[in-house]
Symmetry: D2
């Protein structure tokens, strides 16, 4: 059920609005919606403009933040986020550290899955955008930190550490120290050289190091026929290291 200040998607015909329940009005080409009317409603309910045009309510899911989160650069794609979640077995009991978080899109996914997420971003302006996006997603178990991963100290160890940043040997070593036995470091590196660095640094420390490359394609099905689409298909390498 929608509470005041919750983010809400209003889905009309060929148009979508990302709003906040509460004060104020949304003006659309199909009429005006009072945002206070949204509180108390739920996903699937209908709200009408003053002209009587219907919009369907959708409570945003993590995937919606791909479209609506404020960006600081290209976020990780779902296929890569899914790979991190699945190969680390990230779950509700986990304490996760996510460094190099950018606008926090991956952190939104991790926060929806894990028990607790500490997210670090060294560039302060990005960290602020991340904090805003996390708040919009309504995630109270994600702590946004502006700071350098190498300076992280923690008495309580992490189950999963995810790094999406320029990674040097010392980052891999530092991650090892912060992990529980059986826990995972997952790194995302777009270039092969960095990937080699990670694999080499991890090889001597971790019990298992596997680097994955995922080539994703969509299957396009139209009246002319069905074929793999030719859209972007490589993004980066994901290295999964188990302590």
């Amino acid at each position: 059920m929608i509470k005041e200040n919750d983010r809400v998607l209003l889905i009309g015909e060929k148009r979508e609005f990302f709003v906040r329940a509460g004060e104020g009005d949304l003006s659309t080409d199909k009429g005006i919606i009072k945002l206070a009317d949204l509180t108390g409603l739920d996903t699937g309910d209908i709200v009408k403009t003053h002209l009587g045009v219907s919009f369907k309510i959708r409570i945003p899911r993590p995937v919606d933040f791909f479209s609506y989160a404020k960006r600081t650069g290209a976020p990780m794609l779902p296929k890569d986020i899914g790979t991190v979640i699945a190969y680390t077995g990230m779950n509700k009991k986990d304490r996760v550290l996510d460094a190099g978080t950018g606008s926090g899109v991956a952190a939104i996914f991790f926060g929806s899955v894990a028990g607790f997420v500490d997210t670090y971003e060294i560039r302060e302006e990005f960290s602020k955008i991340c904090a805003k996006n996390i708040a919009d997603a309504g995630l109270e178990n994600v702590r946004v930190n502006a700071g350098d991963f190498l300076s992280v100290e923690s008495d309580e160890k992490y189950d999963v550490i995810h790094l999406d940043m320029q990674i040097e040997k010392e980052h891999v070593k530092h991650a090892y120290g912060l992990l529980k036995t059986g826990g995972y470091l997952a790194t995302y590196t777009p270039f092969l050289e960095q990937t080699f660095n990670v694999m080499d640094a991890a090889e001597d420390l971790f019990s298992e190091v596997v680097c994955h490359e995922l080539i994703g394609r969509e299957l396009s099905r139209t009246k002319r026929g069905t074929r793999p689409s030719t859209r972007v298909c490589h993004t980066g390498y994901i290295t999964i290291c188990r302590k």
Copy 2:
């Protein structure tokens, strides 16, 4: 902290044992471990055999059930499970239905992520194996049902429905009826013909239908050099349909 009857991994040099804390002994080539000694310990702790050889304790994570769950056939690979989780944005608040669950490996991942999972398997003997695996994983939020997906009725709608089975048009239609607005149907189909069936049936019902193919490769790094490995790289098509 390990309680009686919990599943535990004991990691020694080049050997691993998947045991249950509680009564009885584990006999290894390095000596005997009393399983009652495991209760109260935690991941990373050490237990010794009567010959003084150390084994490290690891509380199993979902990924460990790939190796240790009893199987009924080839389970979905993590890359495909991750794709379902990420593209549906599966999360702690979700009510999930998983049909055609087989030995329940995907259900173990979904159960570790989602709030509640109903899992259906029509073949009774598989359903029993699934129940055993789910119990081993200690997941109390997964309900194992022996039955046909088409006979599922529910007053409370689902956020995500995952189907890994021979899918006909009626399954897609039935799934639509069981989903919340904004919720997702995710299907896994190894063959193109079934994939076409799903896409065609979903096209008229759902607001968005995207079929993903993921070609996964590992990067092999040895003294001779680095190269993509040539291991299995295609498994199936994952179609994501949003209501």
Copy 3:
């Protein structure tokens, strides 16, 4: 050695011109070149403009016609043309039939490899463009025919038949009749449905039917690092059928 009317590439700094040796002048921003001066020269020789600026001569190779042939649509990519040549073992002794030739780019490659090529294009305006491109490539062993593949009759059988067109069962059957024992039919089909048609029609006739899909990527190496590029990577399916 360049003869009158031969096509020639003139390579200057950051500019390239595709000209014809013989009458007339080429005006460039670096001065004028008399095209009669090109006859008698060879690949690697230098020609100068009236302002003394050097251009290097290159006698065009089949690959240059990707850039300079007049087009009628998107031509087959070299990776796909190479697949046809290699999997059929196309060679100097071969009599080849190429139908659905479009602007004739694949025919230029086949003509440079095979003994003789008959190329068919049903759309007369495309056939004319093809004839012009073939003439530009200086290939006297390629005969350009405007007509329907299904109407082709030949006492002398072919070693290789290549079809790049909307293919029905009857095309596969007709191709079978025109081939020598041990010869190959190679079809290029962008869509899966057509590919299925070809495979099904060929299955009962040919001794061996293999369908190839080639996902091609370039490796991009810059100062930032090395990574697979994300450019177009699928074009079509190539089915190789041996009589």
Copy 4:
């Protein structure tokens, strides 16, 4: 038409024999064939055993040498050979140098396409096997040389140089010196490190350097359905450098 000493394939039901026309007999489980009877016959003709069982004659094509050439290791796959032929535009007028030829399978393809091929193999025992395979393929335009590529000197330049060997910077430089303007160096390297070496060495010398990776899959179509097969899909990187 088959001449004495030519290699011939005899195709029976579920059996194939690779023989030499001329003296002697072939004993099969279906009876004896006199090899002298093959001379004067042609592809598609029938020869019978003394028991009256028919075998169809097939004059081998380059692709047949994948199955029947004596091997020294894993040969390049047709997809990679085709890529070299297509991206260099290899043709009947070309003078080609192929170094690191192994058993000569790629050289058989190049020899069937190009005007003349010089093939180098530093290991003498491989060079002998290569010479035997080339002779079996009946290619009189391929000269087999036992020797080191770096020691090759030639007044007449090459149109295409293909290297399938451990490549150092000096090999790339040496190849540059032996090529005509507009000609191509094509290298085949299984590992990324070598690929980087080639690209870096070529970058400063050649006018164009493009590295291709080809992931090849077969489409498997059975009664159960159609799906990409999961067989080997990566072999190596092919770098194409234009002088």
